[in-house]
Amino acid sequence: MIRTFRESSILWGRLMRKMVRVKLLLFFALFQPLLFLLLFSQVFDRLDQLPGFAYDSYLQFLVPSIIALTALNSAFQSGIGMVTDIEDGLLDKFLIAPIRRSSILLGKVMADATRMALQALIIVGVSLIMGARFETGVLGVLMMIVLAACFGIAWAGLSNVIALRTGNGELTMMIGILITFPVLFLSTSFMPSALLPSWLDIVATFNPITYIVEAVRALVNTGWDWNAIGKAFGVTAGLAVVTFTAATAAFRKVIS
């Protein structure tokens, strides 16, 4: 236990150092969400006048979706980083060291989570500047960040499966983009459930992102909705079990 913590902290430290030094590693996943935040909050500004739109402004409604989108992007960055480390012979360097293989994965998960939390915090900051308000205050923001990081980690499992199976960073990125868009739009990310066509509303209930977005949306706009938060963590945990089982299997195959 202590040993695993020591080993994974060392590997976490490496990834943190890289992120601090190569700022792109921190900002890469943020560009597109920030662009969406700026554009969508303007383009759809008048949506709040629609009957059935129960939020103060489209910005208030949008911020949680942007946080979720950032987590999705950042998750795909994780898989790409895995391929890069394999290609650069760094994974071999870790495998040849007398450390547990699980520490290698844990160190990566810890670094991913840290990055995702920082990115969520940046989105919160930009939203504040743009005039968004956070109903649940600092504690609520903390909860959002934890949710975003957990969900991002679960999704990173998927990105690593794709990365390890294809062994190709660019392909992983392309598949990531290909998956992210439908997943994002087939949810309540950009339109409230009440305003979605009924088929889409049904599809959205099977989309894990809907639950994250709804929980964060409540934290931003109305208050602590423990039911929504519980569901969000439940869905995230379920997703993580599936993606991490597959990712661990793919990892084993690559290193054997």
Binding site: L11, R17, I96, A97
Partner: protein
């Protein structure tokens, strides 16, 4: 007890490629053991099994009394490994890369730093210690990679084509350092495609081709095995097309199989070069062949290599005395 003991080792990759096909050899403590072979011979596969990165299909590999498949972690503690492809983190500095490896090998922060400083000094990277490895030249990266393999002061070092891509002065400097390491008691297992390198470093070597060890011994013994000296006939520029005919003519003077043909040259090995030289000259002269150069020399490892790796196929590509070069396969 030998430090490395490999018995009947076989590796079949998924898809059926028999990369290593029943090899057996030992390496003693304190040796520099050269593993020589062309591209695709199975060198990297063997090394990766020995450093626990790859599971063998059958057979056993024992390092320092430990079976690599039974207690891989114990093996990892004891060995250093510099892979064929350099593995340094370009975003970290040289010092950070070294400290990271030291830490992963169980050193405390202070120990890892101290060891890192020592290695930077030894590998002459102190001036570049705090520069990002991404800015390094190929030679500097190689040295850093070697430093990483040494970060925990292992008693056994595996080097997979350590000088590939290095310019000759850098290569020679690395040789000097490897000899020093060996003098301090580090056992070195080294693969190479450069015969010159095996000759310069290895006390004993094995030649591997297509997954099979074709011969094993000291460089001198392998050369002696060719039967004495080499007589090389280099034809006049216009007569290059005559090599086959010349080979036929002077093949009778060889004490080790047929004459070898190269691009514009023919070579025979003989135990009595002095008197054979006269025979060769006479024979060629009466056949009306123009000779540009005639040379008597010790056989090189090139000759050994060609003799034992079904050289027929590759001979034409190689000029006498030139180093054999193989292109690097992309991973």
């Amino acid at each position: 007890m030998p430090l490395i003991e490999v018995s009947n080792l076989v590796k079949v990759y998924p898809g059926g490629i028999r990369a290593v096909d029943d090899i057996t050899f030992t390496v003693d403590r304190g040796e520099v053991f050269g593993f020589l072979g062309p591209n695709g011979a199975g060198k990297t596969t063997t090394i990766r099994i020995l450093v626990t990165l790859l599971a063998p299909t059958s057979g056993t590999a024992v390092v320092d009394g430990i079976d690599v498949t039974v207690a891989p972690e114990e093996v990892r503690k004891r060995v250093g490994y510099a892979a064929q492809f350099i593995g340094v983190d370009d975003d970290l500095t040289a010092r950070e890369n070294l400290v990271l490896q030291g830490r992963l090998h169980g050193l405390s922060k202070t120990e890892a730093r101290r060891r890192g400083d020592d290695l930077l000094e030894i590998l002459q990277l102190t001036a570049a210690a705090d520069r990002r490895a991404g800015t390094f030249s190929g030679g500097m990266k190689r040295r850093l990679d070697l430093g990483q393999a040494l970060s925990h002061d292992p008693e056994l070092l595996f080097l997979d084509e350590p000088t590939i891509g290095l310019d000759p002065p850098t290569r020679r400097a690395l040789w000097v350092y490897l000899r020093e390491l060996n003098a301090r008691g580090v056992t070195i297992f080294l693969t190479t495609q450069y015969l010159e390198e095996a000759d310069a470093l290895a006390g004993r070597l094995a030649i591997i081709d297509e997954g099979v060890i074709v011969i094993e011994g000291t460089p001198q013994a392998l050369k002696d095995d060719l039967g004495g000296d080499a007589i090389t006939v280099t034809l006049a520029p216009g007569d290059g097309s005559q090599v086959e005919r010349v080979a036929e003519l002077i093949g009778q003077y060889s004490d080790a199989g047929a004459a070898r043909t190269y691009d514009g040259a023919v070579r025979v090995f003989t135990r009595d070069a002095a008197s054979r030289l006269a025979d060769v000259v006479r024979t060629l002269d009466s056949a009306g062949i123009h000779v540009a150069r005639l040379e008597v020399s010790e056989p090189t490892l090139d000759d050994v290599f060609l003799r034992h790796t079904g050289g027929k196929m590759r001979v034409e590509e190689v000029k006498p005395r030139s180093r054999m070069m193989f292109t690097r396969k992309p991973r």
